[in-house]
């Protein structure tokens, strides 16, 4: 994900801002790994293979298939 995406993302639970932690970047400066952390509730949302997973924790494990 591009770092500028952070400006339009928020915590899905309480809608507060997210902070980037432990970012892994590729050669094009795109963020491919790390965590987005809610500045209010502290919930962590992982970035995997460049895709931030912003599902609330209780939905993250629900995999129908």
């Amino acid at each position: 994900m591009q770092e500028s995406l952070l400006e339009i993302l928020c915590c899905p639970l309480d809608k507060h801002e997210l902070e980037l932690e432990d970012a892994d970047r590729d050669d094009a400066d795109e963020i491919i790994g790390g965590d987005l952390v809610c500045t209010e509730c502290g919930e962590r949302y992982p970035i995997e293979d460049g895709i931030p997973n912003l599902l609330p924790p209780d939905m993250r494990e629900e995999t129908p298939a």
């Binding site: 994900m1 995406l5 915590c11 460049g50 895709i51 931030p52 997973n53 599902l55 609330p56 129908p64």
Partner: protein, 193 residues
């Protein structure tokens, strides 16, 4: 493409169909003169087809979101900015100039539902609006004041019911495209305030 990925594509991710083409055409027409840097979100992007068309054909920056991990992976592989999200939940207030959505809309008998990603992509619950209604309740929060929603609706779901529900959340509606098929008519609604 490996066999496992092939399976992903065929069984786990909704592939573009007539509804996708109609929605992409309508959204691209309307957004052709969008400002450079305006932000468009596609909810439930599936294969990323509609988001990809908007990315190619308009000046807008497009974000492709889906609940389905196979879908966001496919959208990213297609070169799109992808986010795994439940509808518009993780997007900031007033951040988006347009939101595009081809929702799961087929009315489904609860006894006949099959519990996999493709069912989630198609089934709108008993009245066909199990996903549309919560979407309409929340999309106003993330939309810029002069932003628009482009929503695909089928006659099987009931266009009037969706227009009425959108009205409950402060939206006016205009039909910007429609196309008839043997078993349904598809309409693209533009919702605005």
């Amino acid at each position: 493409m490996g066999l496992e990925d092939q399976r992903d594509v065929e069984t786990d991710v909704y592939q573009p169909a007539e509804d996708s083409h109609l929605l992409a055409d309508a959204a691209c027409d309307d957004l052709a003169d969008a400002d450079e840097g305006s932000l468009v979100l596609e909810v439930g992007t599936g294969s990323g087809y509609v988001a990809g068309r908007i990315d190619d054909e308009t000046p807008a920056r497009v974000i492709a979101a889906d609940l389905n991990p196979h879908a966001v992976r496919q959208a990213r592989e297609a070169g799109l900015e992808a986010v795994r999200a439940d509808l518009v939940a993780p997007f900031a207030d007033g951040a988006l100039d347009a939101v595009v959505f081809n929702p799961p809309y087929l009315p489904t008998d609860p006894d006949n539902e099959w519990d996999d990603w493709m069912e989630q992509a198609l089934s709108g619950g008993e009245d066909g609006r199990a996903v549309i209604d919560p979407f309409l309740a929340e999309v106003g929060r993330v939309l810029a004041p002069d932003g628009s929603v482009y929503l695909l609706v089928s006659s099987l779901t009931g266009v009037d019911d969706v227009v009425e529900e959108a009205g409950e959340h402060g939206f006016s509606a205009a039909a910007v495209a429609d196309e008839s098929f043997p078993f349904e008519t598809l309409t693209v609604l533009e919702l605005f305030r």
